[in-house]
């Protein structure tokens, strides 16, 4: 059995392929087998979600086949992140006003 992967390893593999990305990797169960990665990079501009995910899978290559059991991906451009953050602030505001 190959050794379980760590969040740091996943992050560094993605960073090698996308050096300008901002990445957060969470171990969602604490067991080293279910991860969630949020990746924000200008390299995603103009790319479909399928192609963005393929870029990440490409960066992880063999680890994806052998060492990563489950990895949820959220990919955003810096602009999409701003929009997301803005809409969450709006949600919080409207919840307060209710």
């Amino acid at each position: 059995m190959p050794a379980p992967i760590t969040a740091e390893e996943i992050e560094s593999m993605i960073l090698t392929a996308l050096p300008d990305a901002r990445i957060q990797v969470h171990d969602t169960t604490g067991g080293g087998d279910h991860y969630e990665a949020i990746i924000v990079s200008p390299a995603f501009v103009g790319k479909t979600r399928v192609n963005r995910h393929r870029m990440i899978y490409g960066a992880l290559q063999d680890a994806m086949k052998e060492r990563i059991h489950a990895l949820a991906l959220i990919t955003m451009t810096p602009e999409e992140l701003q929009q997301e953050q803005a809409s969450q602030i709006v949600n919080i505001q409207s919840a307060k006003n209710r």
């Binding site: 979600r49 399928v50 393929r54 899978y57 489950a70 949820a72």
Partner: protein, 106 residues
Amino acid sequence: MADAIQAKIDEQVKKNKIILYMKGTPSFPMCGFSAATIQVLDSYNVAYESVNVLDDPAIREGIKRYSNWPTVPQLYINGEFVGGCDIVREMHAKGELEPLILAAQG
């Protein structure tokens, strides 16, 4: 042999307007990601075909090659690869999945 599997998958994908390759079945999903995808699909109240990749190792490996996508579940609508669980959920949340499903129904 491998080509026969690719041809078989291609036929399934083209023959069914909505088809999900998953682990387990819609009533008994065997993985959280497959279960979450089923939940989204069922919210539209549409008929869809599903293939349990755990039943056939050749399909399980073949589907990854077919779409150049390393994970299951995989959703196809109108012969096109839509995405895996994260993408399906995101499209659902943003209202982008419904038009695809409606188009497949029409």
